[in-house]
Every structure is written in C-alpha cells, then in structure tokens.
Amino acid sequence: MSAIAALLAPLQPLAVLRPWPRYEVDAATWEAIGRALGAGDGALMALWAEPGTVHLAVRAADLRNPAVVSLAAANNAFPSIGQYHPPALRPERAIRDLTGLTPIGIPDDRPWLDHGAWDAAAPLAPPSLTLPRERGRDGRGQSARDPADYAFLPVHGHGLHQIPVGPVHAGIIEPGHFRFTANGETVARLEQRLGYVHKGIESLLIGVGFDHAGRVVARASGDETVALSIAYARAVEAALGIDVPLRAHVLRGVMAELERIANHVGDVGAICNDAAFALLHAHCGLIRERVLAACDAAFGHRLMMDRVVPGGVTHDLTNDARELLFAMLDDALARFADVVRVYDETPSLQDRTCLTGIVSNELVTQWAAGGFVGRGSGRAFDARRDLAYVPYFGMDFAVPTFAAGDVNARVWVRIREVEESARLLRHWLWSTAEGPLRAEVPAIDAVREGVAVAEAFRGDVFVWVRLAAGRVERAHVRDASVFQWPLLEAAIEGNIVADFPLCNKSFNCSYSGHDQ
C-alpha cells in the first residue's frame, strides 16, 4: 500500500464533496502527505486555499479515485508541502499572496502573484487580515513598490551575463518575464517571473450565479475554453447530482476534440515558424482557420466559448453542420498529412527540434506534468483515459507517448493526437444520439461541493466548486500550466538562447491560466 493510501485509510471522508472523497486531516498527516509526495509516492494535482483552510488534491496508484485533503490552518499557517515536494512551491507562494496563510518551512518566501500593485495584500483573506497599501504620490492607484523589484535567484560564475525578456514580448503572445543567465550563447539558467495577467479569478467566483461563474472560468485561458467549461460543468453536475443527457455529452466531446485539433495544428505550425520554417506555419494557419470556421458554423462561435454549461450544452448540432464537420475533417486531415510529411522529411527542420529542450521523465513524473509535456517525456497520463469521463469512457483511442522528451517528441504527440481526435470525432458525428441538450439544474439550498478534471489540449484542467443556495460560494481552477511552467526552466538549460522560442512554443504554457 502506498504511504498516501495508508495515511488516508483510517479516515472517514466527508460527505459534502462528490465524486472524490475529501478528508479533513491534522497538521501531522498533512505534513506526512507532503513527505510521501516528495518521496514519489503519488501525484500532486492541485493545492489551493480559502480563508482558514488549505486543500490539496492527490492521486496515488492504489487509490481508486483521487482524494482531496483539507487542513484547518491554525494561526493562519500550515506546514509547507513545498519543503518536501518542489512542485508545491509556486502554488504555496500564490496561496500566501492571495489568502495571507503562511506555509511554514517553505524554502522560497518571495511573493509570486503579488507584484505590489494591488490595493491590499492578501486580497482573498478576511477583512481583518487584509493589509491596505500606501498609495503612491500620483494618487492614481500606483503602488509604492516598483513592479520590477523582485529578488531573482543569484547566479555566480565566470563569463555569465543576464538577458531580461518581457513582460511585453516580441510576438503576439501573453506577458511574462524571463530572466536568462547565459554563458555566451548557452543558457546556464532560466528563471521565470509570472503573475502579470493575474485577474483575481477566484475573487470573481465568490457568491455568483452558476452561469456567470461559468463565463469567468471559461476565460481563465481562452485557448482551452471548451475544456475549462467542461471541467466546471462536470464539477457543478457532480455536486448537484445532475444527469447530463447523452447527446449533450457527445456534443461536449465533439467541441473538445475540435478545440484540440485547432490548437495542435496551430502550434505545430508555430513551432516550425520558430525554427524559421514559415511554409508549414502558413499551411497550418490555413488548416486551423478552416477548423475554426467550421466550429463557428456548427456552434456559432469560433472558439466555442460558453457553449458548455452546467446541465448540458447550449447549441445543437444540425444535420447540415454535421455534414460540414465531416467535410472539414476530411479536408483538414488530408492537408495536415501533407504538413506532417514535410516535417518528417526535412532534416534542416528536425535539426532544430530533435535533442532540443529535453525534459527528463523523472521531472515530468515528479511534477505530474500533463499533456504533451508529460507524454513527450514518457508520462502516459491522459485524463480522458485515466480519469475517464463520458463521452470518452469506454472509447477506444490511443494516448500517444514518446520517450525522447525533446521538442520533436512534443510535436509528435500533437501530430498523433490530431489523428486520434479526428477518429473520435468521426465516430461521434456518425452516432450522435438524439435527445435533449440540457438537464435542469436543481435548486438545492444545502452546501455541496464538486470536483472534476477535463483534458484540455495542453493537459488536465482541474476545477473544484462549493455551491450553496443556487450560487457558487467558492471555486478553484488549476490549469495544466501550473505544473508545466517550471519544467520549461529545466528544458532550456544547456540550450542556446536562440532555441528558447522553440522550446517555449513546444510547451505552450498558458500565462493567463497560470496567473488567473
């Protein structure tokens, strides 16, 4: 029996959370779970807090379901998990910035999301603990602290120089800061500083209606909006015991796979572009555009935002739209096959992607990194299969996994996933069950909690909600990027600075999804 399963076995789960068990533990058990995680005994799925309580979600090989573990934070402090298990460090720094709870023993006590620009420190803490800040001289709400004032880790050595990049980057991409320490062309270390697009999403999910909360969650990261909405809807449905009609499930699957194809195709092109191979970028852009146009025609929105809601979906798929999707798939897959052939037959391109940006299997396992970051380094986890949900449950599809861990491996995961998604789509489009689109959301006054995971194109997204009297009382959204960003720091080490865009694009972590 794993140490985590042994720690949880004697405990009685709370009835409030569905469908996973939730345990209230004491500080000693909490710390023991941290040690077990550090020893590689399980996977940390999420770590978040609300005033007075910290929660973590954990998976272990011999647990039937993942479990949520909660600790009442005595004296607004809790034992740091990060001191044993480094993947917990950034989430804990975020917890302290947002709720003011102190992780005792954390080896990194720098702020993370709080750049000193908010009106008060610990904005999610109860008013008695929130600390208002001094306003600057200009009276326009400028903070007293310079946002550039951040203690990057010191670097010592001969011939080292630093390259600061961002937050505003050279391309059309999200903001974040990268501090490179290089020796000549070779990167000795990359340190990230994120949080620039922190929008206070958790604060917007307190005491709001289900629909509004859904619209906020859908915009935690716009490129994976369908997957986020599915995770949110499934969490609400689990909490309230809603039976979603089969047709709605299938249409969710259709939208999720269309989103996956659009993103994978676009990113394969963008990776090639970062290796100065613009031809494939142009072709992939064309394919992506056709996919999005078909999504628009079928569901009335190119990114299919707000189409998945608690209880079901808002848009039906007409027979005409179904035919259109079939035709689009045939065309897009044929075009993509041409792209793949060129990728596979161009050594000058592979010279850039092969053996570049390697992440070891040990690291992706330790960080429980999902998506192509994990699967490109041999971690065969896919929430659609390993935490299976309808409509994937019982479906036959491959989870492509590669061992090399380089940019090329991540490209191939995406290429193979496009093919698998197309197979799933064709199956569902043939067999779309007739029936209603949306089940009623019952009015339940009692406090209920729900939790769900959905597989976005970049990895598993996790949503936890607490509902009461027809409103969302509290929620947490954890994007796959949270456990992927730190691995990019490892991937770039020893590579040349010029290969950073390539490595970065092959990860395509979400800034917005991370910063929230």
Binding site: L113, H115, A117, W118, D119, A120, P123, G141, Q142, S143, D146, P147, P167, V168, A170, G171, I172, I173, E174, P175, G195, Y196, V197, H198, K199, G200, I201, S203, L204, H212, R215, V216, R219, A220, S221, G222, D223, T225, G266, L279, A282, H283, G285, L286, R288, E289, L292, D296, R302, L303, M305, D338, V339, R341, V342, T346, S510, Y511, S512, D515
Partner: protein, 173 residues
C-alpha cells in the same frame, strides 16, 4: 516538400476579399482623429500588440490576421516586435494592475504620432472581470484610445475591418 510547394502554387489564393470600412468604427475615428496631428503614412501602419491582461482568446484571433486567409500585410499593416517601430498599439485587456506599468512604458516607447486600438470586450470595457481587485478596467482607463473593436473575442474579420478603417483615415489626412 516539392509536392506541397507545387500544390500551393497551383491552387488559388486562400485569401478572403477585403472587408469594407466599418461604419461604427469610421464614426469613432472621425471623432478622435480629427483633433490630432495628421501624417501621411503611405497607407502603411506598423502595429505592436500588447496583451495587458487578456485570457489569450483575443491573441488567437489577432494571430489569425497573419494567416493566409486574412493576410493583413496586403493592406500595409505589419505586426512589429518593438514599440519603437510601432504606429499603433493594439491592446487587449482587461488591464491588470500587474501589467499597468508595462503597458504605460510600452506606450511611452512608441514614437509620435501613435494610435491606440482597444481590442475585445475586456479591452473595451472590463468584460467578465469587472469588479476584481486585480484589474483596472478597459484600456481607456490607462491610455487614450482611438478605436474600440469589441467582441469576445472579435472575429478576425472584425479586427481587419477596424484596422483598415484606421488606416484609411490616417492615410487620407
């Protein structure tokens, strides 16, 4: 690769027809540009995109402007890497408190004359993020905005229409 190149050569262009000038956008620009120094740019504008807090949805559609279907460069519109080269800042929002200084510095780094286009419902107002401690609001809370292109996210065609209208007004002054 030869096959793909030949295929591309002999298939017709994938590009869509140019959209006309947007009536709403024209009216807004008429109001805002008249009072400002005009300069002939030879129907060419350089655009610097700034994500000041977006969910990345708008960025995906702005990206699409560069694909062969919308092909924004045929109108003389070019996305540039530095604000030093930019005539237009294309800003998505909501402007977060953590991005405010970076946005102000990017604006300050762009040479005069310059225009600011606010993109998306969040850039134009605050979208669903209204009321958060971490956001300031729409782009116009921080910078003078010459044109708003709403939408969540705006379709590439709407972005194109807005930018062409801006170009038209700037070039004919």
């Amino acid at each position: 690769m030869r096959t793909l190149l030949l295929k591309s050569l002999f298939s017709g262009p994938a590009t869509t027809a140019a959209p006309g000038l947007g009536a709403d956008a024209l009216e807004e620009l008429g109001r805002t540009l008249q009072a400002r120094a005009g300069k002939l740019f030879g129907r060419s504008l350089s655009i610097r995109e700034v994500d000041a807090g977006s969910c990345n949805g708008c960025e995906l559609e702005i990206h699409a402007l560069n694909n062969p279907v919308y092909d924004v460069e045929r109108f003389g519109l070019r996305f540039v890497a530095s604000p030093r080269h930019a005539d237009v800042l294309l800003v998505t929002g909501p402007v977060t408190r953590n991005m405010r200084v970076a946005l102000e510095r990017t604006y300050a780094a762009a040479p005069e004359p310059k225009w600011v286009v606010a993109v998306g419902d969040c850039g134009c107002g605050c979208g669903v993020f209204e009321g958060s401690y971490a956001v300031i609001g729409g782009v116009d809370k921080v910078l003078p905005v010459d044109l708003h292109i709403p939408g969540c996210p705006p379709r590439p065609a709407a972005l194109l229409q807005g930018l062409i209208t801006l170009l038209d007004r700037v070039a004919t002054r």
